[in-house]
Symmetry: C2
Subunit: 156 residues, 2 copies
DNA sequence: CTATTTCGGCAACCACGTTGTCTAATTTAA
DNA sequence: TTAAATTAGACAACGTGGTTGCCGAAATAG
């Protein structure tokens, strides 16, 4: 009889799969005019959303302090991915919005992820890939995606 | 007919699965006398190995500079997980070895990972879990596990 | 024996997170 | 309506963990 694989292989394969996809995404993004994007940025853009948000709200969504979120916005602003605007209804708020360049990176990311999934479907078969996704949904929290990735791994 | 899931769900589910396992590992490790262990440490311990290694070699395995590896060793030494020894054959080398406490954390980690895998097997069924592992092996590099995780995500 | 390489440590610097404090603006309560 | 509490954003100081550059000591190649 064959024995079970050691338990530590599972998390490593999951992370490795994630890493392969993210690395290929950013290699392709670099080819398509986004060489400055980093793995973390995609999560930040998702947290900003198409309607924009504020630094404080962004910090809550990312699970970091508002100061850290503000610094991240500074960096993304320098790279031209986001811009700050004023909120006419609340003079305290400075709304962070994706620029055209930032939206472009989101659109391209979505298309590249679809292409990468199609490649996995070629390797595994569409049915197996759907089963894999279904199984992962069963063992992961269903509600929201965790956007506090930056602080989670490196933190304290 | 049902359409394909969007491609971006796959990497997020993979990362989420990884994160769930790592979080549960460290919650259990904290209960078992290792409250100071952090997600990164397991990778570092694997890179050190049972025979020990040097700071320079550790840096190469982790994909960071020897100075960074040395600082990591300093921190783990303060926590009591590793100790430095001298190499009688090479007075330059200072061999880093896991302490009894460090080995204990590795042994417990392995057992906890096995238990977590068993729980996934209860949820998904052993066959589906094996299929999931087999599929992940097909789409990830087969050879070595990437131990340069610390610098990969955060790095500029 | 000399030259080159390698190891470990030190210093300076940078990226990116933290907490604390401050001002201004808004909201809530008396 | 006025006073108090909350919230947004910025600034400073600090901690961690990475980087590069440099150094002396030890091993190795010629």
């Amino acid at each position: 009889m064959s024995s079970d694989p050691p338990g530590f292989e599972l998390p490593l394969r999951l992370f490795l799969g994630f890493r392969v996809l993210i690395d290929e995404l950013h290699a392709e993004l670099a080819r398509q005019g986004h060489p400055d994007m980093r793995p973390m940025h995609g999560f930040v853009f998702q947290a900003i959303g198409v309607d924009g948000t504020t630094a404080a709200e962004l910090g809550r969504r990312l699970g970091v302090s508002k100061q850290a979120a503000g610094k991240t916005v500074d960096a993304l602003e320098r790279l031209g991915y986001v811009e700050r605007g004023s909120d006419p209804h609340d003079a305290r708020r400075k709304v962070v919005r994706l620029t055209e360049h930032g939206v472009d990176s989101l659109v391209r990311s979505a298309r590249i992820f679809d292409e990468l999934r199609a490649r996995w479907a070629e390797t595994l078969g569409e049915e197996r890939l759907r089963a894999l996704e279904a199984d992962l949904r069963k063992v992961t929290p269903p509600d929201a995606f965790p956007l506090d990735v930056p602080g989670w791994f490196g933190g304290h």
